[in-house]
Every structure is written in C-alpha cells, then in structure tokens.
Amino acid sequence: MTARIDPDAEWDAGDMGCGDLVLELRHRIARLEPGQVLKVIALDPGAPADMPAWCGLTGHALVSVAPPVYFIRRKAERS
C-alpha cells in the first residue's frame, strides 16, 4: 500500500511538454519552500521520461510516479 502524499501545491500541466513543461515546472517549484511537495499532472507522452530526468538534473526528489501524476519534493537549498 502506498503512503498518501499531501501536496503543498498542485499544477495541472495538461498536454504541455518538453521545454515548455520543465521551464514552467522550474518556476512552480521555485515558489515552494524547501521540503514542500508539488503534485503535477502531465499528459505529454514524453513526461514519464522527462520528469525523472529533470529531477535528476535539478536535485529535486521525485517521490511518487503514477503517470500522468507526479509528486516532486523541493530540494533543501535554493536553486
């Protein structure tokens, strides 16, 4: 059984993808406090590959993946 995650913010990205998706994601994560969680709904077919890659590049934690829903925890320090 998966633990329930209560996000601090939610964003429905719709079919936004590639550069548009991660650029807006960067802005939205930056608005959170370190440790807070953003729930993202991303329908783009590239999102299942891009979201883990983006988290790996930026250092934010992808704490749950169930496409099209992703939970990302903001890293400790400011990016």
Binding site: C18, G19, L21, L23, A53, W54, L57, T58
Partner: protein
Amino acid sequence: MANKFCVSLTHSKDNTDKATVAFVVANAAVGSGKETLVFLSVEAVRLAQKGYADGIHEEGFAPLGELMANFAKAGGTMYVCSPCFKKRKLDENSLVAGASIVGGAKLVEFLSDGSPCVSY
C-alpha cells in the same frame, strides 16, 4: 556533468520548424538549471531583431516569440553572430531581450570547458 548547454541555430523564417524546436530545447535546458546559450548565426540572426519572430507559430508548439521571451526571462542568453548580422544590415539598436552581438571568440569561450552543443 557540464553545467552549461548550448543550442546552435542557423534558421529563422527559412525553416520555422527548426527555429521553434531549437528554442523548445533551449527552454528545456534552462528549465533544468543549465547555464544556457543559444548561438544565432546565418539566417537565425534575424530572430534577434525585435518583432521578427512575431507571427511564427508552428503547429503543436507555442509561438516562437513567446518561446524566446520565456527563454530570456528564465536567464537564457543569446549570442548573435556579428558578421552574419552585419552582412544582413540589421539594426543593432533593436535587439530582443537576452541577445547580444558577439564574435566567434565568445562562442569558443562558452564551449571551451566542455559544454555540449546541439545544432538546428
């Protein structure tokens, strides 16, 4: 892993598909925390002129002007090839946000520490 990323673009209205995708990829790089440069040369230097990208809107993508504005707003840099710009007699006082006219040495400097570069 290099913390820089370069996108080299040589097209504008002669290939709006390539011009658009170049900025989509550049936005992916800057959105991923990379110090990102778009190097505009050959026909792409026209994009550095205010208003030139207006009306370029590839199906399935955001308008090119919006992609470029988002890129600059996120901290992305555009280097504009000086001889390409001069050859086309463009106006250096009418550059879009984030653009600056440079010679080849600035591109070499940016790439010299091993930055990757993709070309369109």
